[in-house]
Structures are given as structure tokens and as C-alpha cells.
Symmetry: C2
Subunit: 214 residues, 2 copies
């Protein structure tokens, strides 16, 4: 286990899992790598913040496999005794519960199984969108996906602003920055979003939902 960014230990939060299975709760700063590919031993649950699970291609381009929101798990390969194939990184200030799988009860296992089934369903949705949807629809969908995460803040106007660079969006939708920039420009000109440096404001969420389904 690599916890190179352990900066602080905080009391565990109330949880659906039995408290006796917790090893620790660890805080991570934005951009900190929480897990590297390699041997696995612990299961992790996001208590607060946002964690990005990602891999890299041969050229070093990042590919986001999923965002892990509070209440959701990562490090599930420890349950199967498999090596980890991905990186996990704190996107915002994040607090992460570290759980020892060997101490999990049957009820704990059921909670985690349910999480795994949902995560698999989301992975299949990603495959479906990658194959069947245009980049424009995938970007619209991704912005709506990020709307209820720690990357988003509601503005005084009532509009949601999301902190995300074009690089981060590209990694999340399986594209490259240049192409994302082009689509973000289109959506801005249409008035669906407004884009600033490293942030995107959702101006018309109903239109985004329509575009994401195109």
C-alpha cells in the first residue's frame, strides 16, 4: 500500500460499514496520488472530496476510468487478491477511509458487492457512450456527471460552476485537449455553457441533458 500523501489522521465518520473494520481515515491534498498500480491490500472509501481512478496509455496520456464520490469505494481489487491496474488521485481536498477487507462482515461484503455491481454498470455505460455517442454528447454528459461533485460550486446566480480543465475533460471522455477545446467552444457559442480558465459554468442544464442523449 502506498499512502505517500498521508498528512493527517482524523476520527472515522459514521458509516454503513462496521466501524471495527476501519484502519484509518486519511486526508489528501488536491493532486495527491493515493494509490499506484501494484500489490493491493486495503479497500478505500471516499468520506469527503473527490477521487479520480485513472490509467495511462503508452504515451503517458491519462484516461479517467471513474470519479469516486463520497460514500463510494475504490481499491476493490484487494477483495479479490489481484494487483491494482490503475492510479487513484485526490482531485479536491479529500478524506478517505482505509478498510481492512479481512475484517469485513457479511453485511459489509454485501454493501461492497452492491457498489461493485453499480460500478460495473457505469463502466458499461462508458463503453456504450464511447462507441455510440459523439464527443459532444460525451462532454455534455460528463459535465452533468461532475455537477454533484466537490468540483462544482453553485454561484450566486444559481448556476453551477465546475472546476475542470480541458485536459481533465479530455481524460474523462477519452479524447484529447484540442478536440475538447473545439467542442467546449461550440457549446459556449450556443449558450449552453460559459467557459473560463479552468472552469465551466452550466448555463442551460436542460440543453446539456438533451445533447448528452443525442
Amino acid at each position: 500500500m502506498l499512502l505517500n500523501t498521508r498528512t493527517q489522521t482524523t476520527p472515522t465518520q459514521p458509516s454503513r460499514l462496521d466501524r471495527s473494520t476501519f484502519v484509518d481515515t486519511v486526508s489528501h491534498r488536491p493532486g495527491s496520488v493515493i494509490l499506484y498500480p501494484g500489490k493491493s491490500d486495503m479497500l478505500y472509501r471516499v468520506a469527503s472530496g473527490l477521487v479520480r481512478v485513472h490509467t495511462m496509455d503508452d504515451d503517458g496520456n491519462g484516461l479517467t476510468l471513474r470519479y469516486v464520490k463520497p460514500g463510494d469505494y475504490f481499491g476493490e481489487e484487494a477483495l479479490a487478491g489481484l494487483d491494482r491496474q490503475y492510479f487513484a488521485e485526490a482531485v479536491t481536498d479529500s478524506s478517505v477511509d482505509v478498510i481492512n477487507p479481512a475484517l469485513m462482515s457479511a453485511e459489509d461484503n454485501l454493501v461492497v458487492t452492491t457498489h461493485l455491481v453499480k460500478t460495473l454498470e457505469r463502466a458499461y455505460e462508458s463503453i456504450y457512450r464511447l462507441v455510440g455517442k459523439r464527443l459532444r454528447a460525451r462532454i455534455a454528459g460528463e459535465l452533468l456527471e461532475l455537477k454533484d461533485t466537490a468540483l462544482a460550486t453553485v454561484q450566486p446566480s444559481g448556476e453551477t460552476m465546475i472546476y475542470a480543465t480541458h485536459d481533465e475533460l479530455a481524460a474523462a471522455v477519452g479524447s484529447v485537449r484540442e478536440t475538447v477545446t473545439k467542442v467546449v467552444g461550440e457549446l459556449s457559442r450556443e449558450g449552453v455553457i460559459s467557459a473560463g480558465y479552468g472552469k465551466i459554468t452550466l448555463k442551460d442544464e436542460a440543453a446539456l441533458a438533451r445533447i448528452s442523449a443525442e
Copy 2:
């Protein structure tokens, strides 16, 4: 649960899951739809044959999410009480164990959890290949993936022949028939495979492995 193609009940096979959890073992003919999207209640394990888990886009184009080989499970959404989002279809003559999740022991759950973790890992590999690999590499990888399934037979020459149409390959790699036909033609001209009507013979598996990693 929809089991519209139930044709025969056979004794259960020896298994890593406690036999008392089995409801039934059901045989399916090639092309039979075993499960439709909708309510879920049972977990399924392939005893013999090959099952394809797939979805469809708005235009009715199939997209294969995974092939389920003997010993592997499908219908995992029943464990989480979620609706099924996909179809499951027998590719070859297949025998499928039907398992009642409510009767599963803690040990059973661990077996299924391990399966889920591996299935999620494979889904992420699919995403990685869809984003990062050319169609040529994805087709080569898919042929190697099908090599140890019920679709493959070893010829007297020692070469493996795989029963798969260009449509089926296209659904498995997220492309369309016309483009797959073009790539299959290329690989044939290079002597890596030979293609006949609805079947492909692997002539040079080492070359296929190299191409799949390109």
C-alpha cells in the same frame, strides 16, 4: 426472470458454490436470448458453452459488453437489487446454472465478489482499448480473446478456427461490419489470419499478439 428458451433440465455440475444454492441448470440453443433488460432476481453461471452479454444502441446496433465463459457469472445486478440493463444470449449450445442470491453463503459471496472485480477490470481494459487502440489492434485482441471459447476449434493442422461473423466481431470491438471487413482483409493479406464465410483461422498467433499490443 425471463427464461423463454428453457428446453431441458440437466443435473447440476460440480461447482465452487455450495450446491444448495442452485435452483436449476438450464440448456440454451445458439442464439437464444437468456435474459432481457428489466427486473432481476437470479444470478447465473455458465456451466458450458458461451454466453454474450450485450446492449443495443438507438439504431438497434448490438454492442457486446462481454463474453461469459464457463465458470463465470452474469446477472450480477440481482445481488444489488438493480434492474438489468442488458441482454444475455447463448452464442453456442450452453448450459447455465441458475443461482438464488438469497441462499448464497459468505463463501459464495466471496467467489462472486472476486468475479465482479475481475469483470470490472476487463471492462476498464475495454475502455482503455476503445480509447487508445486502433481498430486493427482491437480486432487482433478480440480474436485472441475468443481463442479459448466454445466458438473455437483446433484444426487438424493445429491452427485454431473461430466461428464469428464480421457483424459479431464489429459488435465486440465497437465498430461496424464494413470497417471490420476491411481490417480482416488486411490481416488476411498479411497472412496473420485466413477468413472464410463466418469463420476465421488464426495462422500466426504471435503476430496477432504483437498487433493487439500496437
